[in-house]
């Protein structure tokens, strides 16, 4: 029987907070978002997501002293910590999620959240709960699928036209401003990779990992995609 589980990275709550922050912080235009998934053949695994704003820490620190910018409220450190804790709490309550860990470094502005998942479905459930709670449509634009029988791992990703419109509102210089902002995704497997579809992704030397590092602006403007289909050995 074909078992296809939908997967969505588990940290949507975290993404919501961070995305809101990033879109408003025109100035904090240098950042790295790193998502690492270690997937076992049975569909369980470990995920860690890191937002690193240390390249822009001076600007972020200055901005956080302001209450709002361009009419959008800037969260305080306490508010961000509260949001992260709420996300972690929700993560802990999600069936199939365990070993939830998080770290915050407000000197370098780095936030890291990680957890184990017993099956990919648990992560999807978590993201759906959060998306529903915060009335976001993020879960619709980014979905994972894994078929343990065919050993096919697939990520579907659709850039929202809304992102582009919002990004354009920030001003004409933003392409240059965000030139140093990247989204990195690493997926590691226990089995070797036979093939992968994304032309911008690289396969590790041991053939058990795929790295995809894309400029943030390319994702917003739809020049690149996070979508990928990875086939593993049987």
């Amino acid at each position: 029987m074909k078992r296809v589980f939908k997967l969505k990275e588990p940290l949507n709550r975290f993404y919501v907070v961070i995305c809101a922050l990033l879109m408003t912080f025109t100035l904090s235009s240098c950042f790295d978002f790193v998502e690492q998934i270690d997937l076992k053949p049975n569909g369980s695994g470990h995920i860690a997501a890191t937002l690193n704003l240390s390249k822009s820490k001076t600007k972020v620190s200055s901005l956080m002293k302001m209450k709002s910018i361009k009419g959008i409220q800037i969260p305080t450190q306490a508010e961000m910590e509260k949001e992260i804790k709420a996300a972690v709490q929700l993560l802990k309550q999600t069936k199939g999620i365990s070993n939830v860990q998080y770290q915050t470094d407000f000197t370098n502005f780095i936030v890291n959240i990680s957890c184990d998942f017993s099956q990919i479905e648990s992560l999807n459930a978590f993201s759906d709960i959060l998306a529903n709670r915060f009335k976001t449509k993020i879960s619709n634009s980014n979905r994972y699928y894994y078929n343990a029988q065919t050993n096919v791992f697939e990520r579907k990703f659709v850039a929202s036209s809304n992102w582009k419109a919002k990004f354009n509102q920030l001003g004409s210089d933003n392409t240059n401003q965000f030139a140093d902002a990247f989204y990195t995704q690493i997926v590691r497997f226990e089995k070797a990779i036979v093939a992968q579809d994304n032309s911008k992704a690289k396969v590790a030397g041991n053939k058990k990992g795929v790295l995809l590092k894309l400029p943030f602006t390319d994702l917003v403007y739809g020049k690149s995609t996070l979508a990928n289909k990875i086939t593993l050995t049987k």
Binding site: T26, L27, Q36, N52, T58, G171, S172, R188, A204
Partner: protein
């Protein structure tokens, strides 16, 4: 001879203008709270009449007049308003109602009347004035030379007092009546209210009362301030209303489960509210009528001659004048509220020492100024003079250079401050302290005795300069990731250059022992280090940038840039003197200024994009000059302050430029 006659004629004309203006200012009553004077002649001249016409045309004002049948030909000169005189606005408050009046001179009554065709038919009012009823609660009265728009608004709290509400027949109603079995002392008082209401309620219309055009008044005087006076005006209750009240009272209690019961409750609630509104509106209109009558018959005390002078003397474009700042302040704070009473705070004893206040909008070529001043009582003026008796350190000058983006300077005599502040606080604020007054006064006295003002004044006399001198690239560490062949990530530290503004905060200190000892202690505890005579503290949590401190001559300097302090230490000149900024600093007790021309380039260099909507504004900033906030401290017995902006140079000056900007925005 001819020129003498001409000069005399001109002098007479200008004197006539003044006399006319003074005539109108006399129309303002002595108890006006806030007065505004509009120098219409100057405004029209400086705004450029053609531009003003274009602006009003685009705003649709002329079209509105044309609709009412007036032929104004897109020219403000055809409105019938005298554009060579001063117009006034003021407000006056009583405990029950607040009035505002706008007084503007007319040059052509017939032309002016044509503008009002749509509003209504003018009627003869009193003292040679005609009137036109405007929206509810306001009236326009005018004669050949002046038009007066008077408006009234009821106080929101006046009728909250039960006895006042009862006297006027206003019944306080709740949507849901209290439970029948629960005893409420209000029940008895409700009965009382009904009784008094019965005595007071007139035959109010159910609908909102639409004020009719005012007819010649029959009431000689209406003084809304005094409740008792109004009692005499209240008409007796009509027999029908009394009968209706009696019928309602006689109705048996309705079953609570009957849905109709709730409907009837709501209807009753709505009906009573409508009645209350009718009473309030009728009172408001009656009081408005009384006020208009009083003003037109000149049976009021006009603004004192000295206040008239203060309104008109050296009038720029617009002046806002508050004759009694302290009273206005008292009126704004809810000092009779329960928390204040509970804490024993007696606001009646609260004094500010402020007298009159003035705010002027002025145009000086391409510079637009907002100048404010507050009159101080003798003691406060004397003390303030002592507080501001300090000049900036002459050595500050060389740090205001052509690279300076902006600065902030303040000069306070800290010795006088420490000496006078306890007695000042005791004198002006002790009334606020309630039962703690004696204790706090004792504490203040102890503080006064304990502090050695002279010694502290040696450590920090009170002159400070904060200056932003250009940008510099700072090397910053950040966290990145490196990946091995199998894409296992590890954290690595990298560095990058960031362009940031360089600031220096400096102040005079003739006795630097305290600072030196403290800094040495910090270094010995490894919180910082000493490099080439400069104390350095690295950035940590709570400190976004490294901090450097230099003690040089009689100055203490704190900066985020060690190179700047090194240059200062070695007496290297940072740039040529910024004479404008130096002049601003020297001429004022407090000054802050920013050179807007430098801002766009600076933001660009920092990689800051202010956003699409600000792009055009940022591009225009290149043509601007400095924007400054300054205060000369105490001049005479007044505390003065000013905000000024140097706009781009144009033929018409600042106001003309601003109208151009508005026209451009409308045209988009």
């Amino acid at each position: 001879m001819k020129s003498k006659i001409l000069l005399t004629g001109l002098a007479c004309l200008s004197l006539m203008g003044t006399v006319k203006s003074q005539d109108l200012v006399k129309l303002i009553p002595a108890d006006a709270e806030i007065i505004a004077a509009f120098n219409v002649k100057d405004i029209v001249q400086k705004a450029n009449a053609n531009k003003l016409n274009e602006l009003l045309q685009k705003a649709g004002l002329f079209k509105q007049f044309e609709k009412s049948g007036a032929s104004v030909g897109n020219d403000i000169k055809n409105l019938g308003i005298d554009l060579t005189q001063t117009a006034y606005f003021y407000n006056r408050k009583t405990d029950s109602v607040s009035f505002l009046e706008f007084i503007f001179p007319l040059s052509n009554k017939v032309q002016f009347e044509k503008l009002l065709h749509e509003v209504g038919e003018p009627k003869s009012f009193a003292n040679g004035y005609s009137s036109i009823g405007m929206k509810a609660g306001s009236v326009l009265v005018y004669n050949d030379r002046v038009a007066r728009f008077i408006s009234s608004t009821m106080s929101t709290t006046f009728f909250e007092n039960d006895s006042v509400a009862n006297r006027y027949g206003i019944k306080k109603v709740a949507y849901m009546a209290p439970a029948a079995d629960a005893y409420s002392p209000e029940l008895d008082s409700t009965t009382a209210v009904v009784d008094s209401a019965t005595a007071a309620v007139m035959a109010w219309d159910e609908d909102e009362k639409v004020p009719e055009p005012l007819s010649p008044p029959v009431i000689v005087e209406s003084v809304p301030d005094t409740v008792v006076a109004q009692l005499e005006e209240i008409e007796p209750v009509s027999a029908e209303i009394a009968a209706a009240e009696a019928t309602v009272a006689a109705i048996e209690p309705v079953e609570m489960h009957d849905p109709g019961y709730y409907d009837s409750l709501y209807t009753e609630y709505e009906n009573q509210n409508r009645k209350n509104d009718s009473i309030r509106n009728a009172l408001r209109d009656k009081w408005l009528l009384g006020e208009a009558t009083r003003l037109l018959s000149a049976s009021y005390k006009p603004l004192s001659v000295s206040d008239q002078e203060k309104v008109l003397k050296n009038l720029g474009l617009i002046r806002l004048y508050v004759p009694h700042v302290e009273e206005l302040y008292r009126g704004l704070i809810p000092y009779k509220t329960i928390p204040y009473l509970y804490m024993g705070i007696n606001m009646d004893k609260f004094k500010t020492g402020y007298q009159d206040g003035m705010l002027d909008l002025l145009q000086d070529g391409n510079v637009l100024r907002l100048r404010g001043s507050v009159g101080l009582d003798r003691d406060l003026a004397e003390m303030s003079k002592r507080l501001y008796a300090r000049k900036p350190n002459g050595k500050f000058n060389k740090y205001l250079t052509d690279k300076t983006l902006g600065f902030f300077n303040v000069n306070i005599n800290s010795e006088a401050y420490l000496r006078d502040m306890p007695s000042y606080t005791a004198k002006y604020y002790s009334g606020l302290l309630g039962p703690q007054q004696d204790l706090v006064e004792w504490g203040l006295m102890a503080l006064e005795v304990a502090l050695d003002e002279k010694a502290i004044a040696q450590v920090m006399p009170g002159d400070h300069l904060f200056v932003v001198n250009g940008l510099r690239k700072f090397r910053k560490e950040y966290i990145d990731y490196s990946y091995d062949d199998d894409y296992n990530a590890t954290e690595v530290k990298k560095t990058k250059d960031e362009t940031l503004p360089v600031f220096i905060w400096m102040f005079t200190s003739k006795d630097q022992r305290l600072f030196r000892k403290g800094l040495d202690l910090a270094v010995s505890k490894t919180f910082g280090k000493m490099q080439d005579g400069i104390y350095a503290f690295s950035s940590k949590k709570g400190l976004d940038f490294p901090m450097y401190v230099l003690l040089k001559d009689d100055l203490v300097m704190v900066s985020n840039d060690s190179l700047s302090l090194h240059d200062i230490r070695q007496n290297k000149t940072a740039g040529s003197a910024n004479k404008d900024f130096i002049k601003l600093m020297k001429q004022n007790k407090m000054s802050a200024a920013i050179d807007l021309q430098k801002l766009p380039a600076m933001l660009k260099e920092m990689g800051v994009s202010p956003g699409k909507q600000w792009e055009q504004t940022m591009a225009q900033l290149n043509q601007y000059g400095s924007t400054a906030i300054t205060s000369k401290g105490i001049v005479g017995n007044r505390m003065e302050a000013e905000i000024s902006t140097k706009l781009p140079e144009t033929k018409e000056g600042a106001i003309g430029y601003m109208i151009d900007q508005i026209l451009r925005e409308i045209g988009k």
